[in-house]
């Protein structure tokens, strides 16, 4: 990678912009800028912002697409910043100074977000090294087992990369395994008898109760005999732990899982992160950093970033508008029980309690929320109407994408559905010893949308390569239960009960 020296005038600009940002209360890791020509920019972008990644053709494909679309004038990457400490950010060589100024303000807010948002709190801030390590490990496996073999296996792993549980870092899904003593206690001890004096026993522990307790214990035992005990969302972890893999294969799978977890918070906070950055770049520039000569250029660039078009949800636009709406509402005291219960539109419109809590509130929100909770809490009826949101869908009748509804509830439901699990279907490991034949049973937790059938088949094939035994997928197709099964790359399908 060519690293251009960071010129003095840009350094001055950085100092100025960061000064304003700090005064507003933004708090970020140190930022290291590099100025890149468009080729290198495309390269770095193809690598997800990192200078070193493991060798894989997919990066080459992304690079080709980025280069093509740049050459045809369809898109241009203005900025890129990665979540590390210190944070690395890239500027495109040849951008106007106004553009660079916007980018710097934007980047400050991104890094502030990385540093403070709860969902980034568990990410590896030394990921540059992490990625370089992954690269070294993959290269070593390639040297030993052959490039094609390893690359091919990484294809398989990548095919499953979205089968993780992005929330697992923040909540405990499965209780800690019990100690052997506890287990023994449970099994040897008398069936859940409550303590009682002898003459009271038949009242305190009536036979029905004892029966119920016995049954519960049986069920518990059965449950324990299941493997995994309860459905597991982190399919990759399950495979790493239980699939019969060679060392290097397990390592590849671990690398892919590691990187998937690293990138997951970015997908979970796309709207907030971009909204936060856009909120601050416009605030910093319009209130402080712009000179009169730059106003038009700024307006032009800003309009481009916030532009909407039919059938696309612009996260920059949605995010920035929501943050502004939160700020205004908390400044005017439009929240709390009283506000919620008020149903006079007139009163609501003129509601101003001069609470002035806006600034404080948006900083809290950027710390504690992710896209789902953000939308769920702050995407209100008033906001939806004012911002002219609609939901769209594919109309079989006319064969085109159409506006389906402007009803608040529908729009919001649709939006939340798109954000749930980062818009990915939820797939869990249901049974690692399906029908007692050590086959794997995956289950698609159907939430109203079928899987893409073609892709599901190919992915299932890959899953069975990792598991090395047949893999089954229970899903619903057009309302009916279906069991897809893949044995040695042969796919079969039968109807099954989906409960």
């Amino acid at each position: 990678m060519t690293i251009k020296r960071f010129p003095a005038y840009l350094r001055d600009m950085q100092e100025e912009v960061e000064g304003y940002a700090k005064n507003y209360g933004l708090d970020f890791f140190p930022i290291l800028y590099e100025v890149l020509d468009y080729k290198t920019m495309n390269e770095v972008a193809a690598y997800g912002g990192f200078p070193t990644r493991y060798p894989h053709w997919r990066f080459g494909m992304d690079y080709e697409q980025l280069s093509k679309s740049y050459e045809w004038g369809l898109s241009k990457i203005y900025e890129m910043v990665i979540n590390t400490n210190p944070a690395y950010a890239y500027l495109l060589e040849g951008n106007s100074l106004t553009d660079q100024k916007i980018v710097m303000a934007h980047v400050c807010a991104h890094v502030d977000f990385f540093k403070h948002n709860y969902f980034f709190s568990k990410t590896n801030r030394k990921m540059i090294d992490g990625m370089a390590n992954h690269s070294a490990r993959v290269r070593r496996h390639m040297a030993r087992h052959g490039q094609e073999v390893v690359e091919d296996y990484i294809d398989v792993c990548l095919s499953l990369e979205n089968l993780i549980d992005p929330m697992s870092a923040y909540i405990v899904r499965t209780p800690k395994p019990r100690t052997p003593e506890q287990i023994e206690d449970d099994e040897s001890g008398p069936v859940g008898r409550l303590r009682s004096k002898g003459y009271m026993d038949s009242f305190i522990n009536p036979p029905e109760y004892i029966e119920a307790q016995k049954k519960k214990k049986e069920d518990d035992k059965k449950q324990k005999r299941r493997f995994p005990e309860s459905p597991q969302r982190d399919v990759l972890a399950f495979l790493i732990e239980h699939a019969p893999l060679e060392h290097w294969q397990r390592d590849c799978l671990e690398i892919v899982r590691d990187e998937a977890y690293y990138f997951a918070p970015q997908a979970m906070t796309k709207i907030m992160n971009e909204g936060w950055a856009s909120y601050w770049h416009s605030k910093i520039l319009t209130e402080k950093a712009l000179t009169a000569a730059e106003v038009i250029d700024y307006a032009d660039a800003n309009a481009g970033v916030l532009a909407t078009s039919p059938g696309r949800l612009n996260p920059y636009k949605l995010g920035v508008e929501l943050f502004r709406s939160i700020e205004e509402r908390w400044n005017k005291g439009q929240f709390g029980k009283e506000w919620d219960e008020c149903d006079s539109m007139e009163q609501k419109r003129n509601w101003d309690r001069r609470t002035g809590l806006g600034a404080k509130r948006i900083f809290e929100v950027r710390k504690l929320y992710n896209d789902i909770t953000f939308i769920d809490e702050f995407f209100t009826l008033e906001f939806c109407v004012e911002q002219k949101f609609y939901s769209f869908g594919f109309s079989e009748r006319s064969g085109s994408w159409e506006i389906m509804s402007r009803e608040f509830k529908k729009v919001k439901d649709q939006m939340l559905r798109m954000l749930t699990n980062r818009g990915q279907p939820v797939i869990v490991v249901e049974d690692g010893n399906f029908e007692n034949k050590s086959e794997l049973l995956l289950r698609h937790v159907h939430e109203g949308i079928d899987l893409d059938a073609g892709q599901a088949r190919d992915t299932l094939r890959n899953a069975s390569r990792v598991w090395t035994r047949p893999v089954n997928l229970l899903t619903k197709v057009e309302g009916k239960g279906k069991l897809l099964r893949c044995e040695d790359t042969n796919l079969s399908e039968r109807s099954a009960e989906y409960t």
Binding site: T2, N42, E43, A46, P51, P55, H56, W57, R58, F59, G60, M61, Y63, E64, E151, D155, L158, S159, L160, N162, L163, V305, A307, T308, P310, G311, L313, N314, P315, Y316, K317, K388, F389, Y390, S391, F392, G393, F394, E396, G399, S400, W401, E402, I403, M404, S405, V411, M418, P425, I427, H444, I449, D450, L451, D452, G454, Q455, A456, D458, T459
Partner: protein
């Protein structure tokens, strides 16, 4: 400048190449799939090589948008890309990826897949152009060609030898004898030129499907020969009972009725070669496509004579492709085989349908002439 991504990009191109090779038969038999892009590249739609994931089906998914419009308004056709900032949309598009590759590369892939031998151009030594190449140094010449470095090198050498060089005050002054000039040599630049003369029967019995086959086949022949020669010219002759030269567009569009006199085309072709393409300077490739239904035995006889005397002595290869048509008798290919079975300059091929195009190309070009 080399970049890290080059390796990954190279791998990607290699995978693409493999895919194209795998599907070559399909591409060849469905000529429409390949769009010519610019002068030297073609675009090939490839089924996405991307990695499969479990993901939601598109049509049930829908999305959220922002802006004007009534319920029921269309947002544009399925698959149509909307302009917009960033990759914000959730608009699906299970698209074919348009892969751009150079004609040269495509020809290489075809060559590998069909195992085509490289063509040994004839008369290479005779066909020579001269090119000036600056490769030497001499002591005289115009100032504009003065070699700065060599001149100063010479000067410092002289000054050290004379003892006038002072490392503390390194002033170097070249004198006339120190001056060195670039000089050039004339280098032979081997050139091989080829001309492809396409002839097609456009009589009533050649239908659209037959012409389509000819069109596809000629695209691939063009591609291959272009990759083998520096400059390739294409000429087009159509004939029914009369022959005339036309441009590419007309060649593939014209449909005449009337009879077929193949000799008329051969005559015109022979005249073209005699007038414009002296065989010692040109590699000549006449390709003739017909449904094999000639007007009369006499005319076939004339054709054979023309071939023997006026065409074959001058050409690298004479190729005759017979497209199967419900109306034609298909006699002509038999006549040709009868007369020229021994002659390796004549290649005949029967093209039964689109799927046979690939084999036919192999027959035509497999000899490496």
């Amino acid at each position: 400048m080399s970049q890290k991504i080059d390796l990954d990009h190279g791998r990607f191109r290699q995978i693409i190449r493999g895919k194209i090779k795998q599907n070559l038969r399909k591409y060849i038999s469905q000529g429409e799939m390949i769009a010519k892009k610019g002068k030297d590249t073609v675009a090939i739609p490839l089924p996405s090589v991307d990695i499969p994931h479990f993901k939601h089906g598109d049509k049930q998914q829908g999305g959220v948008g922002q802006g004007q419009g009534e319920v029921g308004d269309s947002l544009g056709q399925d698959g149509e890309e909307q302009p917009g900032a960033g990759q914000a949309g959730d608009r699906p598009g299970d698209h074919l990826m348009d892969i751009e590759i150079s004609i040269q590369e495509l020809a290489e892939i075809m060559g590998e897949e069909l195992e085509l031998p490289r063509i040994q151009p004839k008369g290479t030594e005779k066909i020579v152009a001269w090119k000036d190449k600056y490769s030497g140094i001499r002591t005289t010449g115009p100032e504009s060609l003065r070699h700065f470095r060599r001149t100063y090198k010479q000067a410092i050498r002289r000054q050290i030898a004379m003892g006038t060089y002072d490392p503390k005050n390194p002033v170097i002054v070249p004198i006339k004898d120190d001056k060195r000039y670039r000089s050039w040599k004339k280098e032979p630049l081997p050139q091989s030129n080829a001309v492809i003369i396409y002839m097609m029967d456009v009589s009533g019995s050649m239908g659209d499907e037959q012409k389509e086959i000819v069109r596809i086949e000629s695209f691939w022949i063009d591609t291959w020969l272009t990759s083998q020669y520096h400059g390739v010219e294409s000429r087009f002759i159509i004939h029914d009972a009369m022959a005339k030269e036309v441009d590419r567009e007309t060649f593939f569009k014209t449909r005449e009725s009337g009879g077929t006199m193949i000799s008329s085309a051969y005559k015109l072709c022979a005249k073209m070669i005699a007038d414009e393409y002296p065989s010692e300077l040109w590699n000549i490739y006449p390709f003739h496509f017909s449904d094999g239904d000639n007007w009369s035995v006499d005319d076939t006889h004339t054709c054979v004579e023309l071939l023997k005397n006026d065409l074959l002595p001058f050409v690298n290869l004479f190729a005759y492709g017979q497209v199967e048509s419900p109306y034609g008798s298909g006699q002509f290919i038999k006549d040709l085989t009868e007369h020229f079975d021994e002659d390796e300059r004549v290649v005949t091929s029967e093209i039964k349908g689109k799927d046979a195009i690939m084999d036919s190309i192999k027959e035509f070009l497999g000899k490496g002439r």
